[in-house]
């Protein structure tokens, strides 16, 4: 079996998991959202590898891009709130 491909798969998967954990455990909204967007982009890459280019495109544009933009737009408002909560 193709060992090289398997190692590549394993590496991709572990990075994906690590990004998810980082996004989920971040306490700062902006950081969390940016990590989530990165996660979404990597997920799109993985789906391209799994021969799903349609999904990769959609995930990059909607799953990561638009969802991320929506969340960042809201994070812009929530960030000062968060900072003041943090300093308290």
């Amino acid at each position: 079996m193709n060992l090289f491909l398997f190692c590549f798969d394993l590496l991709l998967s572990l990075t994906l998991l690590a990004l998810a954990v980082a996004a989920l455990s971040s306490r700062d909204p902006r950081r969390g959202v940016i990590l989530f967007i990165t996660f979404g982009l990597l997920l799109a890459l993985v789906w391209a590898r799994l021969r799903a280019p349609d999904l990769a495109l959609t995930e990059a544009a909607i799953g990561a891009g638009l969802t991320g933009a929506l969340m960042l737009g809201a994070a812009r408002r929530a960030a000062p709130r968060f900072d003041s909560e943090d300093s308290r």
Binding site: L24, V33, L55, M71
Partner: protein, 99 residues
């Protein structure tokens, strides 16, 4: 079935399951709209990832188009729900500010 394909499906499928569970855990344990929405989106990505993984049938063969269509539908539904939830959140914040 080709064992190589099975291993790939299994690897990515399990990663999808792990994403689902991580998201659910974070959804239960963390508070705040932020973290819950990120958690739900990770949950969704996990489920979609399982579907993409099982649709894979080797590099040479055309993958199963049905799970792909389901995932496309799911992604659009997920972004709709996220947008609605964020609008709810924004109006709660506005009301807090006015109060």
């Amino acid at each position: 079935m080709n064992p190589e394909i099975l291993i790939t499906q299994m690897l990515y499928g399990c990663i999808g399951l792990a994403l689902f569970l991580l998201g659910i855990g974070s959804f239960i344990l963390h508070e705040g709209l932020w973290r819950r929405l990120i958690a739900l989106n990770v949950v969704g990505s996990g489920v979609f990832h399982v579907l993409v993984a099982v649709a894979y049938r080797g590099l040479e063969q055309t993958p199963d188009p049905i799970p792909h269509a389901l995932v496309l539908t799911g992604i659009v539904v997920a972004v709709s729900a996220t947008a609605l939830a964020l609008a709810f959140g924004r109006h709660l914040e506005d009301q807090n500010d006015h109060a």
